[in-house]
């Protein structure tokens, strides 16, 4: 893993570094997928600056249980941080909606889920499509731990398009996490815009919610589960705290437990609807 700081705007850079050098774990499979299965479909969105590898373990588990599982690769992801900086949140939302339409065309019931930014997109999709059966959010990026970082992202975006990632605690997830080793600041500002958009529309959510978050998460705020249970319109919110996990609950040491409780949540919802 190589940390690299690239200065200068994406499109004005003279020598663009090979994008593999900015990607952690380039050998992992980060391509979008659509795995056919039963009549219940699950759409999974990956997080900020990562690829579908982030949701792949959970997806494989759920597909093994007989569900149809799909995950799109969001615009700007899996390419270069500069490419990602050129994306706006509407493009991510659009990609999410497109993937949702594809899946709902073949499935009777659809659950949407996602990690971090993906969790935001899942909430967004559930707001736009009230027919979604349930929402699975894994450390949804509804509120970041550091307010100052959020403010800096907005202020710095025009001047420092790419910044270094702060060092993080080594975790089980490191080996499975594929994504940029630097932080695209423009894109982070877009994430904040999406955050605002989702937050203002939270009361419109009418689906049951699953919220899974790691106790060791230093990226998103520990207030999120309470915020979702009080601000969202969801009649049913199920919160699970993972004692030994950080931000990437879908890849960290307890991911299997997360997968099992996600499956239990889905099963219960499906049973209730039938």
């Amino acid at each position: 893993m190589r940390e690299q700081v690239v200065s200068g705007g994406g499109r004005f850079m003279r020598s663009r570094p090979k994008h593999t050098s900015l990607i952690q774990n380039p050998h992992l499979d980060g391509a979008p997928f659509f795995w056919h299965g039963g009549p219940v479909g699950i759409l999974l969105f990956h997080g900020f600056a990562t690829t579908t590898s982030e949701v792949r373990l959970l997806a494989r588990f759920l597909h093994g249980q007989g569900y149809t599982v799909a995950a799109p690769l969001l615009p700007g992801h899996g390419t270069t941080p500069q490419e990602m900086n050129r994306c706006c949140w509407q493009e991510w939302a659009e990609a999410g909606t497109r993937a949702y339409r594809e899946l709902s065309a073949v499935c009777k019931q659809v659950f949407v889920g996602g990690e971090s930014l993906g969790g935001l997109l899942a909430l967004y999709t559930a707001i736009v499509h009230p027919e979604v059966t349930g929402v699975l959010t894994y450390a949804p990026a509804l509120l970041l731990t550091s307010r100052t970082r959020s403010v800096w992202a907005r202020l710095l975006a025009p001047f420092v398009p790419i910044s270094k990632k702060p060092p993080s605690r080594p975790s089980h997830a490191d080996a499975y996490w594929q994504g940029y080793t630097v932080r695209p600041v423009h894109a982070a500002a877009e994430l904040l815009r999406l955050q605002h958009e989702v937050r203002t529309h939270l009361p419109e959510i009418s689906q049951p919610l699953l919220v899974v978050q790691g106790r060791l998460d230093r990226t998103v705020s520990p207030q999120i589960p309470a915020l979702l249970s009080c601000e969202s319109g969801a009649p049913w919110v199920e919160v699970h705290w993972m004692a030994d996990s950080g931000h990437c609950v879908l890849l960290d040491s307890e991911w299997e437990q997360v997968a099992r409780l996600s499956q239990a949540f889905i099963e219960r919802r499906v049973a209730r609807c039938n």
Partner: protein, 259 residues
Amino acid sequence: MQLNAQRHVFQTAPDPFYLAGGPVGILMLHGFTGTPREMRRIGAALHAQGYTVTAPLLPGHGTTLGAMNRCEWRDWADAAEAAYAELAETCSCCFVAGLSMGSLLTLWLGAHHPEIRGLLLYAPALRLADWRSSLVSLLQYWVPAIRGGSSDLHDVSAAEWGGGYGYRPVRALAQLLQLQRQVRRLLPQVQAPTLVVYAVGDRSIHPQSGPEVVRRLGSAAIEVLRLKDSGHMLTADREWPTVAQVSAEFVARYAGAAG
């Protein structure tokens, strides 16, 4: 202050109940100035699922305002402890449920007895809606009781499950606030899976009361059910069948092999 004799004394029969069932036991604690009747509908539904259900009458309740005003929060906590100890003797796996003040006692038990399998909090009264309640610690030396607020029941016919005093005993209210403070401190120590049920239209507890419980609980699994068509006494109000069903499912899930 002269109290109307009729409203001074308890109106409905306070009937603690014990419904014998299987090895999974559920202790149900009623709310401030309430009676076990409040828990009867849910209790009967849980009993129908094969669980042992017990609902004691807390000290000072179901008698007179004077008796209630002589109680301290410790008395209520001790009564809850005693009822739990009794249930734990016969049942291998225990759950505790409580309405309003009862849910504070539930949290109290949860913090002190990690072996409890799950907690069910109905309208947790961690904070009260009425800002004047902050004055009671001062008021208690002059005023024995204040008039109770109007009912926020959505299903008016559910009032028969409530009952209680027409007045609020002020000294007892000050004790409730003490209990709130104690329980707020204990929240991070609670480890048991918890179900929180609260009504959006609840006029007795502060709207942030439920979310605050969710925010500060130490439990790894928290489930939240929000009711849109119920008042404070949600164990008997219009959506009580939903509450009963969700509670039964919650108990079934966490009772595990013992169930």
